[in-house]
């Protein structure tokens, strides 16, 4: 791997700032917590080929492929209907292949004023084993495709299927990305150190209350999922009295979009929207606020 001498022990992408040295965040309108919803709209290839992420069963893995496809045929529309009813917008983590293959879905997002972030091209084409040029090409192509579909710049990024290389974060600013959601190390935005003193921040995503992790992988019920998200909201809402926090709700249409689970989304959104002092934001809005109000202070904050 280019420029690599030894495997890294530390990520070294952000500094540790002790809690009492952190800047105080005051979200717009006196909100205590910024809530943002991240639908992951993905395309998994039926036959990803040798370098792609393999399916658990031999190709064609009908059961697993069609479960993901269910998200695009059925789940996403059900999820949109619920989000519309609550007047909440999504910040979509989008595999750019969806723009070419299923433009109807992308158009539905754009018409709702949802933000489109890049989540690579396919969720079966991962960064592992790619050199820096290949990673750069993948980012560039995904951003180009998505921005031509949305007619807006792409500002946010999540690596396809959370894959990683030592340097992919360094490449993001060059393609116009101003925030990454690959890091789940904090409940507030944080400056990220990248090559050439370019500017990049992390906006909190979630490994913990992510529908596919909670209900898909770990096997919790929809009621359990709703309890977890509401508890997380209550805690971050309370802590937001002191300094604004971020609650991210990652969703996957092939998980939350099932009829036996959609009620959990209604439950959670009912709970959240019953509160005042909540900023129902997009990732871009959170990032813009942070750059304008806290980035300079936080990026100067000393280590330890």
């Amino acid at each position: 791997m280019k420029g690599r001498l030894l495997p890294l022990k530390d990520l070294d992408r952000y500094t540790y700032v002790r809690p009492d040295h952190r800047s105080t965040i005051r979200w717009p309108g006196g909100a205590r917590v910024a809530v943002w919803i991240v639908p992951n709209i993905e395309f998994y290839e039926l036959d990803p080929g040798g370098s792609g992420k393999g399916w658990p069963r031999p190709v064609p893995d009908v059961l697993n492929y069609s479960l993901r496809d269910y998200g695009n045929r059925v789940g996403v529309w059900r999820m949109m209907e619920v989000m519309d009813a609550f007047g909440v917008r999504g910040s979509v983590s989008l595999n750019s292949a969806v723009c070419d293959r299923l433009p109807e879905i992308v158009a539905a997002c754009v018409s709702r004023g949802w933000e489109l972030m890049s989540h690579g091209i396919y969720n079966t084409q991962l960064f592992y084993g790619m050199n820096e040029e290949q990673v750069g090409d993948l980012i560039a192509e995904s951003v180009r495709t998505i921005s031509s579909a949305s007619k807006r710049p792409v500002r946010g990024f999540l690596a396809p299927a959370l894959s990683s290389t030592e340097t992919f974060l360094d490449l993001l600013p060059k393609y116009g990305i101003s925030y990454t959601i690959d890091l789940v190390h904090d409940d507030r935005p944080v400056p990220i150190t990248v090559r050439d003193a370019a500017r990049l921040i992390s906006v909190p995503y979630s490994s913990e209350i992510n529908d596919v992790r909670v209900m898909g992988v770990r096997g919790y019920s929809a009621d359990d999922y709703a309890s977890m998200v509401k508890a997380a909201f209550d805690q971050l809402y309370e802590e937001g009295r002191e300094s604004g926090t971020v609650l991210c709700m990652p969703l996957h249409p092939f998980v939350i979009g099932h009829p036996h689970r959609i009620g959990a989304l209604i439950d959670v959104l009912t709970h959240i929207t019953a509160h005042e002092h909540v900023w129902l934001a997009t990732g871009e809005e959170i990032a813009d606020w942070y750059y304008a109000n806290a980035y300079d202070v936080d990026s100067k904050a000393a280590c330890h």
Binding site: P7, K9, D10, A159, S164, S207, R218, G219, Q235
Partner: protein, 294 residues
């Protein structure tokens, strides 16, 4: 010979003795908080300890999730423990002591006990490590934690609770007094090595937050139910028998998340409503253990 080693003799719980709790106390509640650094380059061999990063290198996602515990979660837990009035024992590996000195200082300031816990989560103690390297890792781990501890460091938990055949002897040689790796008892017992004795402090992986919430994927409500059930049973037994120990492992990257911390707080409040419960650090439990008293 009932057992196939010489570290300790077989002893059933009914024959256990020597733990003298303060007047009116029946169950010692020993809360331990692991402070763990999981390096990005952690090897897969010889095994991945609980919590180890498990996606391909570089596991940015896993690294950041564990880091959340040490940068955010632990401070949430400190507030919880302050609120309910518990001083915990932190098992601090050298990797976290160096990287998160403020969090460790906050513990020391509150009178928490700081104990050693290896170099980091990729420096495991097992039979494939030479005796010299293992001894050096133990010395390094103790030295780093001693530098930030107000009192002498007397305790140890190995990364991943993994040991080699030499570990216990090397811990005794290093002057430590207790070890919290073995999960085989609810009362302390003496461990003998050729370099001197140690005390095995009861610890429970079964009832740990990481085992129930992460490895077995129970809800936090189910976790709380299990802990409260354990406390009720131990208290009942202790009313007619010897005292008992309820060891709780509370992990920053597990219980320090917003969706779990309220239930944890309520659980601790409920446990401490029972006046027979005595919250103690491992060092305090050790001081209450007098094996010569039969």
């Amino acid at each position: 010979m009932p057992l196939d080693h010489t570290w300790y003799e077989h002893r059933t719980l009914s024959r256990a003795a020597g733990l003298c709790l303060p007047e009116g106390k029946r169950v010692a509640l020993v809360v331990t908080v692991p402070m763990e650094f999981f390096p990005l380059d952690s090897p897969e061999k010889p095994f991945r300890p609980s919590g180890a990063l498990d996606r391909p290198y570089p596991d940015t996602w896993g690294y950041a999730n564990r880091d959340y515990g040490n940068r955010v979660g632990i401070h949430r837990l400190l507030r919880v423990f302050d609120k309910v009035g518990i001083r915990a024992t932190a098992f601090v590996d050298a990797g976290t002591a160096v990287r998160y000195p403020y969090a460790i200082a906050q513990m020391a300031e509150r009178g928490w006990e700081l104990a050693a816990s290896g170099v980091d989560r990729s420096s495991l103690h097992y039979q494939g490590v030479s005796r010299a390297v293992e001894a050096a890792n133990i010395a390094n781990a103790i030295e780093v934690v001693s530098a930030v501890s107000a009192s002498p460091v007397i305790g140890w938990q190995s990364p991943g609770q993994s040991e080699s055949f030499d570990t216990l002897e090397l811990l005794a040689t290093a002057g430590l007094r207790y070890v919290a790796d073995w999960v085989n008892d609810e009362l302390p017992y003496v461990v003998s090595t050729v370099a001197g004795n140690l005390v095995a402090i009861p610890t429970s992986f079964e009832l740990s937050d990481r085992n129930i919430l992460v490895h077995h994927d129970f809800t936090v409500d189910d976790y709380v139910k299990q802990v409260l059930a354990a406390a009720a049973r131990l208290d009942e037994e202790a009313s007619t028998s010897s005292p008992r120990v309820l060891p709780l492992t509370i992990t920053p990257w597990v219980s320090g998340y917003p969706h779990r911390v309220r239930a944890l707080t309520e659980m601790l409040v409920e446990l401490l409503e029972n006046e027979a419960i005595w919250p103690a650090t491992c060092a305090e439990l050790l001081a209450a253990f007098k094996p010569e008293h039969k």
